[in-house]
Amino acid sequence: MTNLKHKSGKDILTVLLLLTVLFQAGCGPSGFRDPITKFQSASSVVIASTRLYITELNKTERDHYIQSQLSQKAQIKLNEIESVQVFSKDGLKARLDALNQIGSYGDLLLKLANSDAPEKVKAEAKSLADEVKNLLSTVSGLTGNDDTAFKAAVGPVTSIVGVILDLVLQQKIKNALDKAIKNGKDPVNNLIAVIRNDISLAYERKRSSLSDMRTALVDEYNREMLKGSSADSEKLKMLAERISTHEDRWEAFASGNPGEGLDAMAKAHNALVKYAESSHKVTDLASLVDAMEAFAARAVSIGKAVQALRGT
């Protein structure tokens, strides 16, 4: 019994100590630095992976077309090479700029909630407002059929972010936060969802191209193998190695969907809004830290998988 009492007392003491540490972290600006840093770095990884992935996608589509014409011994046409690209250059740039700005907006939101260095926050708001203006200009020039949903999703975000940034510039921080909480969450999440949808389409096209390449490489090996005793052993070895390398990429590809990183980004953004809306309790900070940890972990695994896909 004494032991049990002693043990309970020890447990309570541990919990109290833990709560004190968490409470101190939650009350001072330094407690938020870790989630801010995590959100910034995870967003950067997801955006960089998405950029690399889509850039590689256009190359994959080109190579796929060339390989397909080669296997049919058909004419290769430059206009057909251009027509197999999934995104235009401007369409791609606009999506990546939008993701960058969602990342910056998330950071800003967290800093507003923390009321950390109002002058610094104001400077960041000014810079973000300029970026938003540039994005609007790029988006208004998009004419592709595949840009319709993206254009429709950008408008509400730039509009609400513009209003919030104006309030920040006027140093009406509380109003800015209220506006962000009440009106910002859905448009931002919708924009992430639309970009995620575009990325998923791109992922499917890349899957199709890589899959076709699997057959093409096996065919090349089998054609040489069918020559029987006159088959070139060195060439067979080289072709087998190419199959092996491509099969490794095929395996890595399954875990390299940047769309999942964007899902994690949306969840992290929701956690930021929830935190901004809260009264900064210890549990709110703990939830925020958990969400950022999950986002960071997902970003790292996707970043690694996308790196492994380079050169396909």
Binding site: D146, S200, D212, R214, N222
Partner: protein, 109 residues
Amino acid sequence: MTRLELIKLIGDVLTKLDVLRGSLLPDAPDRLDLDRLRRQLDRGQLQLAQNQFDENTQKFQNATEQLEAVNKDLKKTLNDVGKVATTIANLKRFVKAVDDIIGAVAPFV
């Protein structure tokens, strides 16, 4: 079915079809048909990926239901190198069903 689900479904068929093609020698009698059908299906998927359209119309929903029915038949033999003739017949139906979907949503908005 949404546009993305449709594109994924076509992608699933393409990847299984590639395994079948890659399990046959390049000069196997059925390879020409399988390769041609693969190219047609790939073109259809690209067209659907490059163009946005209204996926909430009844025409689109009806056309995708047809595709799902053909897909059920196709899945029964697509992994079986001993049933290539049946697979080719079902693939032709599948490609036609994809063309019908494109016809139902075109011209693209």
